[in-house]
């Protein structure tokens, strides 16, 4: 096999123009931590690598009171995890980013890479889904924005196709009295992919759950929202019975598989437990406890 051609894109325009030349024979590479595994395993054999690391414009974290948070696709996971702004205002995202891989992997991997690789277990996806994140993409015909919920198509597949690039993630401000939590079950304390990941975000009005969002990782072909579980809690005052029901509903929303990290049955059981815990922690967070 001839090694692929290596091209460096220095701007979004250049990346898109290279992509239009090579189409499906090309592969965008940012941090490379997922891609190099695919290359070594022979799962990917592109004719051309388009290196994105030199596009400095896509490495940023910006915030303003009106529009909320914007994170460039090439921002490293460590910078997402350690940004004081994200830690204070969007702690659920910082928390999840800090749980991704190992410290060295977090130094290399990027937020855009984690999302575009579209692993069902991608740690940044569940928190971004409950935060209502929007993906900004660029193509030859211009920019498009799409809710992150519609971004994932299947394992390793996104809506980007062969002609678009993810450039930015936008996250609206959290409402007052909000709280969020991301729980990740692993096989060991150290680095591991999620057996199950659960993100919960609540907005409280007194004792009532004015709004609830729950997202699940590693239990379906893509990261998903657990909408039935949310529905059970929305607008209600929390009690043990409802919490139980929402945990069960989250299990029902999932379509887990058996794999080396756990069986489908184990994942369903775990989901019920972790969903309850995530909601409880999110409420505590919202109430400032």
């Amino acid at each position: 096999m001839t090694p692929p051609k290596y091209l460096t894109a220095r701007s979004v325009e250049e990346a898109l123009s290279l992509l239009s030349q090579y189409g499906e024979k090309a592969k965008f590479v940012s941090g490379g931590t997922d891609f190099l595994m695919q290359l070594k395993r022979g799962e990917a054999a592109p004719e051309c690598l388009i290196c994105l690391g030199e596009i400095r414009d896509l490495d940023f974290i910006k915030y303003d009171e009106i529009n909320g948070l914007r994170i460039g696709a090439l921002t490293t996971i460590v910078n997402v995890a350690k940004a004081s702004l994200i830690q204070s205002k969007f702690s659920i995202l910082a928390q999840a980013a800090g749980m991704l891989g190992t410290p060295a992997i977090r130094n290399q991997a990027t937020l855009g890479g984690n999302l575009c690789n579209a692993a069902p277990s991608a740690d940044t996806a569940p928190p971004l889904l409950v935060l209502g994140a929007i993906a900004k993409t660029a193509g030859m015909e211009g920019e498009k924005i799409v809710p992150l919920e519609d971004f994932f198509v299947g394992p390793g597949q996104t809506i980007l196709g062969q002609d678009r690039l993810l450039t930015e993630i936008q996250i609206p401000n959290m409402l007052p009295h909000s709280g969020g939590a991301y729980l990740k079950q692993k096989r060991r304390q150290g680095a591991d992919l999620a057996v199950v990941g659960v993100a919960a975000l609540v907005v409280m009005e007194g004792e009532v759950l004015k709004d609830v969002k729950i997202a699940l990782g590693a239990v379906a072909p893509t990261p998903i929202r657990a909408k039935k579980a949310e529905e059970i809690l929305r607008g209600k005052k929390l009690d043990q019975g409802l919490l139980e029901k929402s945990g069960q509903a989250a299990s029902g929303d999932a379509r887990p598989i058996d794999d080396i990290r756990g069986s489908a049955d184990y994942r369903r059981e775990l989901l019920a437990v972790l969903t309850k815990r995530a909601i409880t922690q999110a409420i505590q967070m919202a109430e400032g406890r």
Binding site: K5, Y6, G32, A104, I105, Q108
Partner: protein
């Protein structure tokens, strides 16, 4: 296609031909003789191939050599003082307190620890364990490794025993 790469390793520039798909670990070990960088799992799980790139621990088996150009790469060979050969305090601590058993994880452990101490000169045991959580030691020598890093941190802070 074998492009000519220029890599900056331990303060010196090296020209080397390598395939576009060659990892930095492969080029360091097989083309340039920096065999202090270990290659074990070759899939980003074990941390043995850790080098510092622009001061941060990264996995050389998970980086294309071609992407490592124009960056400051530090391998274990570059850690001791190049003139006097005096060991870095972390290396010294590993020698004095038996921080290594088989030695395969050691270069990665020491470089990861260096990056930690550069950022946080006074870490807690928990900080050390977290920082080293991506470096596996199959001899199970974690307790002593952690002690070595804490000891080195103290030496680096106080300057004590620097000339021993």
């Amino acid at each position: 296609m074998m492009p000519e790469l220029i890599l900056e390793i331990n303060g010196a520039k090296y020209e080397v031909k390598a395939a576009t798909t060659a990892t930095l670990a492969e080029v360091l070990r097989e083309e340039l003789g920096f065999t202090g960088t270990k290659m074990m799992c070759n899939e980003g799980e074990c941390g043995a191939c850790t080098v510092l790139i622009n001061g941060k621990p990264m996995l050389s088996c998970m980086i294309l050599a071609i992407d490592a150009q124009n960056k400051d790469i530090l391998t274990i060979e570059g850690l001791a003082d190049p003139v006097t050969g005096r060991l870095h305090p972390i290396q010294k601590a590993f020698v004095e307190h038996s921080g290594m058993q088989c030695g395969v994880c050691t270069p990665g452990m020491i470089l990861t620890a260096k990056a930690l101490l550069d950022e946080n000169p006074d870490p807690t045991e928990e900080d050390v364990r977290r920082a080293l959580s991506g470096n596996l030691c199959r001899c199970g020598n974690y307790r002593r490794i952690t002690e070595c890093v804490l000891d080195a941190a103290e030496v680096m802070r106080t300057g004590e025993r620097d000339d021993k």
